[in-house]
């Protein structure tokens, strides 16, 4: 539908990760902020080049792990001391040493679950549709090509100037991508 056509942004395609890295630095220096890279593997230094901050994921995982530890330990204490005290060979009800293994397992379980589902949640995955998939040749982003997208929502975005800017970064091609 041509009437509803909206521009998502401009996408440049690069052949190597080094070219992409250089382009990312230049884009940041030019003042663009709504920029994202699309690569077939994690390229070192790219997040810094794009000015992306560190992820909060480790803190979430810490919370998940502590929650797991608390759940595991309290479950065992409440069950063995209060709800169902069961005297075995005169051993104390609150034998916390014996509760360590399950507390540990629960810590790992919840921390690992938080790491996986937290990562997916922060990444907004699973996701059915994203405009970047309209980019010509984007199928190679998961194989051997490196992409850099400047979104139309960027305050410095200007169709002609931004295109010229991206062309100057030595890409294989620059495409305008619709939503």
């Amino acid at each position: 539908m041509q009437d509803n056509y909206q521009v998502y942004g401009l996408v440049a395609e690069f052949e190597t990760s080094d070219q992409l890295l250089a382009a990312a630095r230049a884009t940041k220096d030019a003042g663009y902020r709504k920029v994202e890279s699309y690569t077939p593997f994690a390229v070192e230094g790219l997040n810094e080049a794009l000015g992306q901050r560190k992820t909060r994921l480790p803190w979430l995982v810490l919370v998940g792990g502590l929650l797991g530890a608390a759940t595991g330990f309290l479950m065992q204490t409440i069950a063995s001391v209060y709800d169902y005290p069961w005297l075995v060979a005169g051993r104390p009800y609150f034998s916390w040493q014996a509760f360590v293994p399950i507390t540990f397992e629960m810590t790992i379980l919840l921390a690992a679950g938080t790491a996986v589902f937290g990562m997916l949640l922060l990444n907004h995955l699973p996701r059915h549709y994203h405009p970047i998939f309209n980019t010509p040749g984007f199928k190679r982003a998961s194989v051997d090509r490196f992409f850099l997208a400047i979104e139309a929502a960027d305050p410095r975005y200007n169709p002609t100037e931004t295109t010229e800017f991206l062309r100057g970064l030595n890409p294989l091609r620059v495409s305008e991508v619709g939503c």
């Binding site: 990760s17 994202e36 890279s37 699309y38 690569t39 077939p40 593997f41 994690a42 390229v43 790219l46 997040n47 992306q52 560190k54 992820t55 994921l57 480790p58 995982v61 792990g65 595991g72 479950m75 069950a79 063995s80 709800d83 169902y84 069961w86 075995v88 051993r91 034998s95 014996a98 509760f99 293994p101 399950i102 540990f104 397992e105 629960m106 790992i108 379980l109 690992a112 679950g113 790491a115 996986v116 937290g118 990562m119 997916l120 922060l122 990444n123 995955l125 699973p126 996701r127 059915h128 549709y129 994203h130 970047i132 984007f138 199928k139 190679r140 982003a141 998961s142 194989v143 051997d144």
Partner: protein, 483 residues
């Protein structure tokens, strides 16, 4: 000079063959690995069909054995009093031990920055999950009334009862289920970017839809990779203590009890070493034919096999040390029951199992000291099979021999596995290989995105060396700069 010669030889080791052989680019590497699941269904290789059918047949044997078990109860097995733990628990420990190599390869080697893990971690993680699936079945079947398995779990119930949290058997429920869950998560997370490249290279609509759904919309965004790599690293950090804890808890199932031959403090570390030993043996058993059949020698090189053989040798020595320590402690403790247990192992009715165990796990792995044997692939395959058998025998020796003659001779009893014991065991081998063949057919058997990363790093390393001197020249550290 002796010193500088040694340093130079270290230098040459550093410059050994690359971990990716052949002339590969990101594209050829991805296409090569993705081409295996892309083979059209009608052109499924006949060898795969035959082996899959065989495995599926064995899986049917498993279902038959379990059906009969449900009808008759555990009396169909050879277990008795005092040998209440028979082949079911032997197999449980065997399978769960095999799983440990997968976690070791994917987690510990990641933390230790060993790049050779990248081409074998997918397969070994798959092996872990399938082995844990087989392992988890045995304690449940062992319950007898398997439809009440949920009694193992702590849940509020109208009986007002809770599991006994001071018992290692309850710890085991948590350890094995956590281990299975975390291994599965680790594996699935590793698959997401590879599903994306399968989606993008899919030859037809059906595959594009299926792999596309599994890829969860992965698009390789920089921010996504950052969180992804962090999640992966954290999972590795969490899985590392987990893998040690699981087999330690399995070992505590034994050592907390007072059976002679079980009641020792060194069981947990010795079990963990044994688990890694058997797991690497299983990885080698699987990967040697797979890399040949699927033409993956560029990615799983002889150097990979050499590394695995060295890990096997090291852990094998720890296990052998464990066998020697058992004998020493029995003598040194002065406890007549412990001494009798060792003597009974060596000369009693099950002595052939003990000596076969010493041969399989103690003597034959010593061949791996020699590069000549480590680089002989057929021999390595045979050795890995022997170690698999040896580790099964180890659990048989620990469980059955210790139980069948404990304290009072009036309570002694022999144990003979019945056909249903064997059918259940062979059946789980069928389950394992059924899952494995489905995995080989429909999923990327090598972690492709990590291989692309490795290729990038190997190119960069070659580039750096190229700048310094002649390409491929031995790297010589400054003498005296530290050894």
């Amino acid at each position: 000079m002796q010193q500088s010669k040694r340093l130079q030889s270290y230098g040459t080791v550093e410059q050994e063959e690359p971990l990716i052989q052949g002339d590969h680019s990101y594209g050829t590497l991805t296409t090569k690995i993705n081409s295996i699941p892309f083979v059209p269904l009608r052109r499924t290789p006949i060898g795969w069909l035959l082996l899959f059918s065989l495995s599926f047949l064995l899986l049917m044997v498993f279902f038959a054995a379990v059906t009969y078990l449900l009808i008759q109860g555990v009396g169909i097995w050879g277990i008795n009093i005092p040998v209440g733990w028979g082949l079911d628990i032997v197999n449980f420990v065997w399978w769960i031990g095999i799983g440990h190599a997968g976690t070791l390869i994917s987690a510990v080697l990641l933390l230790l920055r060993q790049p050779w893990r990248n081409s074998i971690n997918r397969l070994s993680e798959a092996m872990t999950i399938f082995a844990v699936a087989c392992a988890g079945l045995f304690p449940i079947l062992h319950l007898g009334r398997i439809w009440l398995f949920y009694w193992l779990l702590p849940y509020p119930n109208n009986l007002g009862m809770w599991p006994m949290f001071r018992s290692p058997l309850t710890w085991d429920v948590f350890a094995v289920s956590t281990y299975g869950t975390v291994s599965l998560l680790f594996w699935l997370v590793g698959l997401i970017p590879d599903f994306a490249s399968l989606r993008d290279q899919a030859p037809n609509r059906a595959r594009r839809l299926i792999y596309g759904a599994l890829a969860l919309g992965w698009r390789g965004a920089g921010k996504h990779w950052q969180r992804y790599e962090m999640a992966y690293l954290l999972l590795a950090g969490l899985a590392t203590p987990l893998v040690v804890s699981v087999h330690s808890i399995v070992a505590l199932d034994f050592s907390v009890s007072q059976v002679p031959g079980w009641h020792t403090t060194f069981f947990p570390p010795y079990f963990v070493a044994g688990a890694i030993f058997s797991g690497f043996a299983m990885v080698l058993t699987l990967i040697i034919p797979i890399r040949k059949y699927y033409g993956l020698k560029d990615f799983v090189t002889d150097r990979h096999l050499d590394f695995m053989a060295k890990v096997m040798l090291t852990t094998g020595l720890i296990v052998f040390y464990g066998y020697m320590a058992e004998i020493f402690y029995a003598w040194y403790s002065g406890n007549e029951y412990e001494r009798f247990m060792v003597w009974n192992r060596m000369t009693g009715p099950y002595a052939p199992a003990y000596w076969a165990l010493i041969a399989c796990n103690g003597i034959i792995p010593q061949l791996l000291w020699f590069r000549r044997f480590r680089s002989n692939v057929p021999l390595l395959f045979v050795v890995s099979l022997i170690i698999n058998i040896g580790m099964w025998l180890e659990r048989f020796v620990i469980i059955v021999i210790s139980l069948h003659r404990d304290y009072l001779p009036s309570a002694w009893h022999m144990y003979t596995p019945t056909i249903w014991d064997w059918a259940t065991y062979i059946g789980t081998i069928g389950l394992f290989f059924t899952l494995l063949f489905l995995f080989l057919r429909f999923l990327p058997i090598i972690n492709v995105f990590e291989m692309r990363h490795l290729l990038h790093e190997e190119h960069e390393a070659a580039h750096r060396h190229g700048k310094g001197g002649q390409h491929g020249e031995a790297y010589t550290p400054t003498p005296g700069a530290g050894d």
